[in-house]
Amino acid sequence: MANFNEDVFFSTAVELNRRLVAKEFTAVELARAFAERLETSGPSLNALALSLRARGVNDAKDVDDDLKRNRLRGPLQGVPYGVKDLLAVANHPTTWGAKPYAKQVFDYDAKVVKKLDKSGAVLIGKLAMIELAGGGGYRYASASLTGPALNPWDNTRWAGGSSSGPAAAVAAGLVPFAIGSETWGSILNPCASCGLTGLRPTYGYVSRAGAMALSWTMDKLGPICHSAEDCGRVLQVISGGDTDDPSSAGKSYYYGPQYARNFRDLKLGFAAVDFDSWPEENCRAPLREALGVLRTILPAAVETHLPDYPYGAVAGTIITAEGSAVFEPLITSGRIEELADKRQIASLKAGLEIPAKDYLKAMRIRSLIQQDLRGLFTHVDVLVSPSTFSIAPKITEPLDRRRGATPRPKDRGLSDLGAAGNLAGLPALCLPCGFADGMPVGIQLVGRPFSENTLLAIGAEFQRRTDWHRRRPGSQK
């Protein structure tokens, strides 16, 4: 049995695959080592929903057979991973993080899981999440069947959400990568909170067949990893058209950052106020420094602002209306009272009363937002903004109190980029970029639809010039 040192558990997927192909260790040894670690430390972080060690080790045996015969399937072959527990894995509980669904079992795998299986990646666990992906809005980190996910950088703080378990597990070196989801912030927020690299793909790039629906017009599945390259490799596997997903864009993605345009030809849009005034005081220095590094990569940078729209009202109305409709049986049966978070219960109930005129108005404003953002992207190629304006909160803090600077700046800059980007279905890459009071902070790059190779090329260059993505909990002091 190989004796793994700590470095292995914080290696990227690509690095692990190289070492597997070089026969430094076997896929079974690697799967067992990560599964052991996930089972031992996952529960103490409230990151683990269900260990899939047996399934993983079994798949790893097939990988070892392939590797012996030099049947190579790509850079994820033999690499263990976890999935947010809203993805179906056949004949195992898929709880959606919520007590009413604690015993729910599907007899099929989600499409993303099938694709990763085919690539030779080794699924070893289902990872904790905020109940129902937090669609109704939630007040506390404890809004989860498994309790508040703890941040590996500081266990008194939250791992972020709603992809809490995936982020905590990757950050703690329990899985090399994980699949999370984002409707509005649920990949970028936990990645920023845990010092990880995460990709929210263009809406429709990744099939949602077999995933819990929260908001049909806003849900996206995406990778949570240690590097931009890993995000690209995972996206290549999980993307592609799917007739089982009505929202599928019908496009495949090939990881090819070398084909992205020359950085000197790309224009970076940013708002100084996002870095100087919106973040809490302790976050400003590392965020400004990150912007400085980006401006050396993309020298053609311009001050940019989002067009003026009620982004919060639009996104909130759409997500709550769609989420309440999805969970109407849960609400009308009364079983919604079993959820952990009282704010979410009330919000989903109220969501059933949203009149059609409001939903349709929100969807019409959304069309205008998309149109205006298309116009904005004729002047810039990439937008950059902090992923969050503060570090991860303490686990007992109410999450719906406003975070960031007080008082709020009058200039909104790109501060609504989270809502705007999700409403328009745009891709976003979260990059760790430093620390504030010992906690990670992150920036987000947002691009045109299907411009993931541009974002990932910039991200990879940023990670060549910095080492924030290499830091591990305990190393920040």
């Binding site: 009620p310 919060g312 709550t320 704010r343 109220a350 969501g351 409001d358 969807m363 019409r364 069309s367």
Partner: protein, 70 residues
């Protein structure tokens, strides 16, 4: 024989126990902090969002951001 019983009792109390006894009436009188009315908050948020949407004018020709495919 004495006409009344006299009972002497000596009780030793720590300073902490004494302070609890002194504060007890105030503690008992204190009501539990009011819990937020989540339902009212949720409807209030919906109302504010509805108003924000209503304030935004949209050209009549603007269609909702979904496409029906037969």
């Amino acid at each position: 024989m004495r006409g009344r019983w006299e009972l002497e009792m000596t009780v030793k109390l720590s300073r902490r126990e004494l302070s609890v006894l002194a504060l007890a009436p105030r503690l008992l009188a204190q009501e539990a902090a009011p819990q937020p009315d989540h339902s009212r908050e949720a409807f209030e948020l919906r109302r504010k969002q509805s108003e924000a949407l209503a304030r935004r004018e949209v050209p009549m020709s603007t269609e909702p951001a979904f496409i029906f495919k037969p």
